[in-house]
Amino acid sequence: MFGAGAAHAAGTLAGTDITNIATASYETGGTTVDIDSNPVVIKVDELLDVTAVSSDPGDVITSNGAQNVVSTFRITNTGNGPESFRITPNVTNGGDDFNPALVSVVIDTNGNGVYDPGVDTVYVAGTNDPNLTPDQSLTVFVLTNIPATQSNGNRAQVSLTTAATTGTGAPGTTFASAGQGGGNAVVGTTGADADASGFVLVNAASVALVKSATVLDPFGGTTSVPGSIITYTLVATVSGNGTLNNLSINDPIPASAQYVASSITLAGAAQTDAVDADQANFNGTRVNVALGNVAAGQSRTVTFKVRIQ
């Protein structure tokens, strides 16, 4: 007699029958009589509503030529019936600095909120439009490639539109008998479609080199006099996105100073002056340190000593 429960934020499930029967009781001729009214049945129609939001906490930081840059979105069926949704990505938005190339839209099949290549399913419009029950959410990834020639600091808008496949339109638009359970489908306040945008920001890896010096004079003080030892500290910090490959530091010794033999350290580890298996050498005029591949967010610290002549 009664339909499914109404535990949804979106309200009573579409297709639920609301049945009303009144009962009367009275006495006549000493007998109690119970009668039922006619049952009157109305069906709850389907409200078509959907929301979409970007799940990225901020700009997705990327670099020139990056492949499969992931923009993450979350769509939610806020209607009262199971509904499938068409997803349309857009990477050619105006008002931004460049247009990345669309690779694919991917559905977070395993529901972990993270793009898993080969695990999550590539979305094909009209083929695997996701079917969401009322209040159900789904994470969707839009993968893009970044052109190789973008300048640092350029931003691109990546957006998607999701639309109820039953139909969209102005709120109140009705699709007769198209609702779940045989009722009508009615466009809700969202228009049964929703847009969301995220941004990708080109911020290539770059290195900052900070050099500092401490002085120890022959008398235990810090004055710069002949015989004082200067310890130079070089900190190379890579920022941005990606990795700087084969990063190296070269630092010439000042003419007024003499290199202190075997004084190079890398990350606190002593290095020899010869060109050999370790990463540093002194070639008579300059200190060379091969730092190798350094990822963004990392830093390398080199120290060496000279004596003031």
Binding site: F2, T12, Y26, G29, S37, V186
Partner: protein, 158 residues
Amino acid sequence: MNNFLKLCFSMILLAASSVPAMAAAPVELSSDIFVEKQEKRPDGSFSTVLAKPNLILPGDQLVFVVRYRNASNKPAANFSVTNPIPAAITFSGTSDGAEIVSIDGGKSWGKLSQLRVNNADGTSRNALMTDVTHLKWQMKQTLAAGDAGKLIFRGVVK
């Protein structure tokens, strides 16, 4: 079978066949549902109209109308009408306020203002319209032959 038994059986059959005749409801009861819709007036303001329930969505205000009529030529004493609130409906009031309600599926009854709901933590609170599961109108007087009336209550689609 002797004649006495035959007589008894025919009396039983007579009594049995008379039951449907009694239940053929000399008192008629009918139920109807309408939906309140906002209609825009030419001046841009809105008026509330009662419409046939062709389109029902969560949040819609429904109006339930129960009509009764004593179609017989005999009075009906102790006339009462009971209406369970459909599960998908939140009760939101009656037109006459003369009803008693149940918040426990029809087991106990009272005016809404007198009923209390027990919370899980042992405390209790006043019952709300959202707690109501059944409505009942107990007519104090006898429904005379030909008497008719209607009872109206409202509810919101959950």
